[in-house]
């Protein structure tokens, strides 16, 4: 009954709203717009592709908790997958740039360990770009 009344008098419905209500509605819309912008523009990755030397070593789902031990040119490296992200957690290289890159979570992100010749690339439905200038 009540709801039907509402549909019959849309003007009445609008009149219910106070100035603060309008303020909250507008702020909410702006906030939601930003949420869509920030959370939907860069795609979360679904898989990580690991390359060792010239070969693709394997592709793993990011939807798991896992440590992968790999043997690169210099020695043993450890790659961790956890909570939709992946990273180098141990590497035998001197510079440790790869480890310092930290967690990767978006499709198209890469971490390359040149000395040990191991690289990670996160894959998603659609890549943001074909290749990276670095």
């Amino acid at each position: 009954m009540l709801v039907l009344n509402f549909l019959r008098y849309p003007k009445q419905l609008i009149n219910e709203l106070l100035i603060g209500d309008w303020l909250i509605i507008i702020l909410s819309l702006v906030g939601i717009f930003y949420l869509f912008q920030s959370l939907w523009t860069s795609e979360h990755a679904a898989r990580v592709q690991i390359s060792v030397g010239n070969k693709i070593y394997a592709t793993y789902s990011l939807n798991q908790q896992r440590e992968i031990h790999l043997h690169g040119k210099l020695g043993d490296a450890v790659i961790s997958i956890s909570q939709g992200r992946a990273r180098f957690s141990q590497s035998p290289c001197n510079t440790q740039y790869c480890v310092h890159q930290g967690w990767l979570s978006h499709a198209g992100q890469v971490a390359i360990c040149l000395p040990n010749q191991i690289s990670l690339e996160l894959l998603g439905e659609r890549k943001l770009y074909d290749s990276l200038s670095y």
């Binding site: 009540l2 709801v3 009344n5 509402f6 419905l13 219910e16 709203l17 106070l18 100035i19 603060g20 209500d21 303020l23 909250i24 509605i25 909410s28 819309l29 906030g31 939601i32 949420l35 869509f36 959370l39 939907w40 979360h44 939807n63 909570q83 939709g84 992200r85 979570s105």
Partner: protein, 176 residues
């Protein structure tokens, strides 16, 4: 042996009656299929809001906590993930209602409170989902959808509540 008598007050009866009404709405909603899992209108919150305005914050908190426990028992979901999500969402929205109820009433009506409570509800649930059920960065992906649904249903529920209050809801509840 004499049966144990618990002294109940008028207030207790009223809370029980209102909670029963909220539980009924909760049940109705539980059987209505949702277009998107997790997105629900939350019509039981209309009762919480109504009670808040008519009988104060303590009564509203009682009604909504009772509703969460009783509904989950009735649906056989007690202590299940659904129950925990429902409880965390309710605690969050009670928190925000406590705060928002202190806003000047001249500017902020039931619609404001309803929208804020809906946001808090979804925030509490999603936080639980992220921390406990799906510790996965992908959860962030769902946030905007749920926020949009919260705004829409919060607005509708708020409008219904203010209409109820305007129509002198006391009579209606007594008629139930």
């Amino acid at each position: 042996m004499k049966p144990i008598q618990i002294q109940t007050t008028v207030d207790d009866h009223r809370i029980a009656k209102l909670a029963a009404f909220a539980i009924a709405l909760h049940m109705v909603e539980a059987v209505i299929p949702s277009p998107l899992p997790g997105v629900k209108p939350g019509i039981a919150n209309i009762v919480t809001l109504y009670v808040l305005y008519q009988y104060g914050y303590a009564a509203a908190a009682w009604v909504s906590i009772l509703r969460v426990f009783a509904s989950s028992l009735l649906l056989g979901q007690f202590l299940s993930p659904t129950f925990v999500l429902s409880l965390s969402g309710t605690i969050f929205s009670l928190g925000i209602l406590w705060l928002a109820f202190k806003f000047p009433k001249k500017y902020f009506g039931p619609v404001s409170l309803s929208i804020l409570a809906a946001f808090a509800h979804i925030a509490g649930q999603l936080m639980m989902v992220r921390l406990w059920l799906i510790p996965h960065a992908g959860v962030a992906y769902l946030v905007p959808i749920f926020a949009l649904a919260a705004l829409f249903f919060g607005l509708v529920n708020g409008l219904i509540t203010s209409k109820l209050l305007a129509n002198d809801g006391r009579k209606m509840v007594n008629n139930e």
